[in-house]
Symmetry: C2
Subunit: 424 residues, 2 copies
């Protein structure tokens, strides 16, 4: 039977333990919501002060060159690329996940239209995919006269056929934490003549991703979850070199053809001519401040590189989630918590979700009052994210003890935990 | 003949003079580039520290509600709305100008397709409009099977006919500073059965704008020029209430249908249902940090409200640009500078541009070395922006003296001023 002392021992042996020092963690908080908003890195505040007071305040317009603001989307993009199996020049940090998905899914549909039989007009995704992805796909399907088919995870394989144009999946499901095998699914899609678009919102910085190894086609992802880039941080997008090269050759556009994606924006020509490579996926002027914060966040993940990188982070992440599952099932037994996240660690992301027929929202609120921050995802999911960069094994122990107490004392039934805020 | 002493006297009498104290102006700089990147407000650095260290660092995910991050696009949008003749609930601060233009121009085209004869398929704009606007229009014209016609300013009237679908203009031209009469042009477009889309990038915070007074249809604008929101700040968009109401009634979408524009994003439903009103024009998760900086910037312009607001700022702006034109023409005569900006102040924005057959780039570089920051717009325009919030009449005098010296000593011919940087 595991004890709190055992957890302390695990922390003492943890080779990644010192990475916790890279963060400005609030005292008295056990933060299990890094999959919604990553913690503030210790370096960010000073970096933003420098960007604001020196780069903007003192150097003003010259900073577009002098401070490298112009190239920041490519530079931060390439740093993120190191975490997801991208080569340099394939990743761009820019705009939001939704907008980036619009760009890459548009590009994918355009390529399908050029190459494929007219009957290939179906976009397949999961019904439980993160909604914004579905909304963007719904918009593009209508515009391009494709149909969007939403299925359950175990129905995907059956939908990979000669009508499939694009398979659009989020690698790690935001509710369940279930992971798709990117290489296997991509291979199947390609064998059927389709393209893949991957959302890495809950993957980048959370699990080992190898986009080139999987021969994936397009990907997008989020900057403010495991990349710790700050609230509403710029997102990223990735495109396989074979598609970038082809877009270069055939002068293909993505539809958000703003000036930052132009081959020569400062010639101020009146006709669009897409930039070569990944830069054609840029659109408007990027936020130098938001990108600096994202850069600091990405650096916290890259700091694990000399300690084993994403493989080491993944090992610790699984140790944390295994421990959490084991402790909850042992110490909170009989309280109606049903594991939603796969028990099989090979298909589990860096989170653990439990469903509960009643009181999920209130239980999360009661935990928050105790300083244990998880979140609730309607209608019935209690979701706990485990960021290996800053979480300790004792945090897992303490979180479970709080959960046990909230359940055993039925504290969650108190009225104040049952008043819903606008955003949950 | 005006002297530096006269300029000092003008500053002493200037009722807006104390607004300069709202900015962290670098010592020794005369900043005539607020139309490219506005100066850092004095309040911004502390505000961002608070957003970063307290709202994000301490309060983490709870700040989406507690600190009002969720409603910031609407809140800052409404503040901007006060500067452009908008009513509450018509303006949203979000994304980039290019992306916002994509949204509103898409909505305009959708409305035209529903209402108008099939022959109405032309988007008209100016050849010298800011390129990103043209690139976005080019993309949408191709997608929707419209044609984009680019004309000179004096050819616009002739293009307002039964084929015109949307007239898309930037109210103040970025090169020349020439202003379109929004009310007159809009009336003519409406009389011909067309809609208008206005880019206010060089208008908002620079000249008095009355979108509702002009009965305009759609507008977008920039947060980092006269609104002082910081490098790559979120932009804004505005939609007339009659179109918002209609989009509500007919459940019309804009194509970037991300979750923040959904009627109930936290229900996590799989089908898109647009939010009511201006919120349907939101897309992905907004940057709380970038919006806080924009908020501080907009507040500097709103600080003029008790001193006469945009009308008072406009009076000072014209006094500054009139003085600059008069001094340059008097003191730099014979040096080949040709006024590009209208001499008629009723159609002049808050900038003055001169064309010069040779050396424009190098002259601007020589001025920058002296601390006089203007910019060069290829192929031949020297552009000087005059932000009445922080510029003094003595700054105008001193800037002209530097320009005179650069020209009379032919300093600009020195080699170091003729090496082009990547971005000019």
């Amino acid at each position: 039977m595991t004890t709190r002392q055992d957890c302390e021992a695990l922390d003492a042996q943890d080779p990644l333990a010192r990475l916790r020092g890279l963060f400005a963690l609030p005292a008295g908080t056990i933060y299990l919501d890094g999959n919604s908003l990553g913690v503030l890195p210790a370096a960010t505040a000073a970096r933003l002060q420098d960007v604001v007071t020196r780069e903007w305040g003192e150097d003003l317009i010259t900073s577009w060159n002098k401070a490298g603001w112009m190239q920041r989307p490519q530079l931060v993009g390439d740093k993120i690329g190191r975490l997801i199996g991208a080569r340099p020049g394939e990743t761009l940090a820019v705009d939001s996940t939704s907008i980036n998905l619009y760009k890459v899914l548009s590009a994918a549909l355009e390529i399908v239209k050029r190459d494929a039989a007219p009957g290939r007009r179906v976009i397949v995704s999961e019904r439980q995919n993160f909604p914004t992805d579905l909304y963007i796909a719904e918009s593009l399907a209508a515009q391009h006269d494709f149909s969007l088919k939403l299925v359950e995870p175990d129905e995907i394989a059956a939908k990979i056929d000669e009508r499939l144009a694009v398979l659009m999946l989020t690698q790690v499901n935001y509710r369940s934490g279930r992971v798709h095998d990117m290489a296997t699914v991509t291979r199947a899609a390609h064998a059927a003549g389709a393209l893949t678009v991957w959302d890495l919102a809950h993957s980048a910085g959370a699990i080992a991703v190898d986009l080139n190894g999987a021969e994936a086609d397009f990907a997008v992802g989020c900057g403010y979850k495991y990349l710790n880039g700050g609230p509403g941080a710029p997102a990223f997008l990735w495109v396989h070199r074979r598609h970038l090269d082809r877009m270069d050759r055939e002068q293909l556009w993505q539809p958000l053809s703003g000036w930052m994606g132009h081959a020569a924006p400062f010639e101020f020509g009146s006709a669009y001519r897409p930039a070569a490579g990944i830069t054609r996926f840029a659109c408007g002027t990027p936020s130098a401040i938001a990108l600096a914060a994202l850069d600091c966040g990405v650096e916290t993940v890259l700091a694990a590189e000399p300690l084993g990188g994403m493989a080491a982070l993944r090992r610790k992440s699984l140790a944390l989630t295994n421990l959490f599952i084991r402790l909850v099932e042992a110490r909170c037994a009989g309280h109606g918590l049903e594991l939603v996240t796969p028990r099989d660690e090979s298909i589990r992301g860096s989170q653990v979700s439990f469903a509960r027929a009643e009181g999920g929202y209130a239980i999360v609120q009661a935990l928050i009052e105790r300083g244990v921050i998880g979140d609730f995802r309607a209608p019935d999911v209690l979701r706990f994210g485990f960021t290996p960069l800053y979480l300790r094994f004792v945090d897992v122990w303490d979180a479970v003890e709080h959960l046990r107490d909230v359940l055993e004392t039925a504290q969650w039934r108190e009225e104040r935990f049952n008043v819903k805020a606008a955003v949950t």
